[in-house]
């Protein structure tokens, strides 16, 4: 499997990354190298082997259903570039 420039463009767009022509070329090469390696991995016989879904065998840690939050509106908004009446303010997004 190999990818072309338009796929690189699409992936960059989905990730909201701005990529110029030179970077695009570099990324295409890098990504193709990675995919080549994945192709090799896929040649390994995995018949009857469960997929490894996690690298650690740690069980998932859980919490009780209790409200433990200590953050208030001011703290939550303290990094917001723009805020108003307790809300984050962002450029208009309408579907």
């Amino acid at each position: 499997m190999s990818i072309d420039n338009s796929t690189v463009k699409k992936v960059a767009k989905l990730a909201r990354l701005k990529v110029d022509a030179k970077e695009e070329q570099n990324l295409k090469n890098e990504l193709n190298n990675i995919l080549e390696w994945v192709d090799k991995l896929q040649k390994v016989d995995t018949e009857n082997i469960d997929p490894m879904l996690s690298v650690s065998n740690e069980p998932m840690s859980m919490r009780e259903d209790m409200v433990t939050s200590k953050l208030d509106n001011k703290q939550i908004l303290s990094n917001a570039p723009e805020k108003k009446a307790g809300f984050f303010v962002v450029p208009k997004v309408v579907e």
Partner: protein
């Protein structure tokens, strides 16, 4: 009954599948200790995880897992001992992480089913899966011309996405499915099911085909938040698709919005890229492993489901299937009934609830729960009827006024001076007085004019201002006249 859409070139069949998003009843969020209370000030219930702060790690809420398992059990579904949380990647301002933690390939609950009833005929609707995921925040687009406002209080709240098989074939089947599902969730307490507050909403998948054909191309109508809208959206969408196909055009698989003002569905922006969610297992969360013992414990904790309650009501209280069905369509109503029927005649209780009380609520256009009418309010009135302190007719006459008052039935009828006269000597006195005052009528009666019996009853009731116990008046009068 078969539901078909009439087109210019013949009839079309409808295929509907639903994805219901149900907010889990829990104090705190799925992966953070922020509160889930509704109606709080904006951005006042947000933790680092919910606001997407770098380095903040999600820790799962055990109660939410239990709630999903309980729901799975009540949908006759398979509970998966191992499930995986994945990241669903997309950018939107009310999703500060840049991804939603969801479950993709390995959901917590697998295949199940739910039975609905249409015109007395049962139909089984398949459940494809149920998975856990985070809710997004809320965007307000109408507060400012150039900007959108973001409130993250809902961000990270636990959702169950319950996906059905495309087993429904009419708007009313879809409505019944949502009603039944909502009712089950409310019975077992895993979701409040309040559609106005948005804690239950549905994505509706609709396609049309010729009877017996393969599935047509479907459109998904997003976020429909009332049962009525679900039906209207399906009706419009099906008609739209039939018209397009008959004009020789193709249906494009897309996401659409339902506009409840104009009763139409509209295409949402080009979705060709937004569906590319690039799911991958969330490296912050190891697999969720459940053991049989914990699942069994939950199975034992499962409360009575609507269908079971219905059967019990029919058997235990000797009421009709029709009445039982009415009672179990809302958990609140069935609890209300059970509190009143305890120690009372079920026939009287059922008729006062389903006839008198329900028609009152209908006139007021409120639900029983909204009306704030407590069971004692009804039971205290029924006790007065059962003990003959007031007649059934009197009770009906004062019913509206009584429900609006804030006193119990004893106080109310005392204030109104309505207590029925059930004292034998008092009744006798009344009867004697009437007979004495109407000697001519009495004579005519004795000479064979039986019809006058009713006249005497009327006179006694009038004399007592309607308070005399009619049954006792009847008996006393019969006795006196036969002397």
């Amino acid at each position: 009954m078969e539901y078909l859409i009439e087109g210019k070139t013949g009839n079309w069949e409808l295929v509907i599948g639903l994805e219901v998003h149900a907010q889990i009843s829990a104090n705190s969020k799925l992966f953070s200790g922020a509160s889930t209370d509704w109606g709080a000030d904006p951005n006042s219930q947000v933790e680092l995880v919910d606001s997407g702060m770098p380095g903040a790690l999600p820790v799962i809420n055990k109660h939410c897992i239990d709630q999903a398992i309980l729901t799975g059990i009540s949908l006759n579904a398979q509970i998966n001992k191992k499930s995986i949380f994945d990241r669903k990647n997309y950018f939107y301002p009310d999703l500060p992480q840049g991804y939603q933690i969801s479950q993709f390939e390995f959901p917590i609950v697998g295949k199940g089913h739910l039975n609905i009833e249409i015109d007395g005929v049962e139909k089984s609707i398949g459940i494809t899966r149920l998975h856990l995921e985070q809710d997004a925040g809320k965007s307000l687009h109408d507060q400012d011309i150039d900007n959108s406002f973001i409130d993250l209080n809902r961000s990270g709240c636990a959702l169950m996405e319950i996906v059905s098989e495309p087993d429904m074939s009419s708007p009313s089947e879809a409505a019944e499915y949502v009603k039944k599902l909502r009712n089950i969730l409310r019975f077992i307490g895993t979701c409040d099911g309040n559609m106005e507050k948005g804690n239950l909403r549905a994505d509706v998948n609709v396609s049309v085909r010729r009877k017996g054909d393969e599935l047509g191309t479907r459109c998904e109508i997003k976020n429909v938040n009332s049962i009525k809208f679900i039906q209207q959206a399906i009706e419009f969408e099906a008609r739209r698709q039939v018209d397009l196909i008959e004009k020789g055009e193709k249906i494009i698989q897309e996401t659409r919005l339902f506009d409840s003002n104009n009763l139409e569905t509209r295409s949402m922006r080009g979705k060709e890229e937004s569906h590319d969610y690039r799911y991958f297992p969330d490296p912050d969360l190891p697999p969720l492993v459940l053991n049989e013992e914990d699942i069994e414990k939950l199975r034992l904790k499962l409360p009575e489901l609507p269908d079971q309650k219905k059967s019990r009501f029919i058997e235990e209280f000797g009421i009709t299937a029709y009445d039982a069905e009415i009672l179990v369509t809302e958990k609140y109503v069935s609890d209300f009934f059970e509190q009143i029927v305890e120690g009372r005649d079920s026939k009287i209780v059922i008729s006062w609830i389903t006839v008198e009380l329900f028609s009152y609520l209908k006139r007021k256009n409120v639900s029983l729960e909204e009306s704030k009418i407590g069971p004692e309010k009804i039971s205290s009135l029924l006790d007065l009827i059962i003990s003959n302190k007031i007649s059934n007719r009197q009770a009906k006459e004062i019913f509206d006024e009584y429900l609006k008052s804030d006193v119990n039935a004893d106080t109310f009828i005392e204030k109104k001076g309505l207590i029925q006269i059930s004292n034998e000597s008092e009744i006798e006195e009344l009867v004697e007085k009437v007979l004495k005052e109407n000697p001519k009528m009495l004579e005519q009666y004795k000479s064979g004019k039986d019809k006058l019996f009713g006249f005497f009853i009327g006179q006694v009731m009038k004399l007592s201002n309607g308070k005399a116990n009619p049954k006792m008046v009847n008996e006393t009068l019969k006795r006196k006249l036969s002397l």
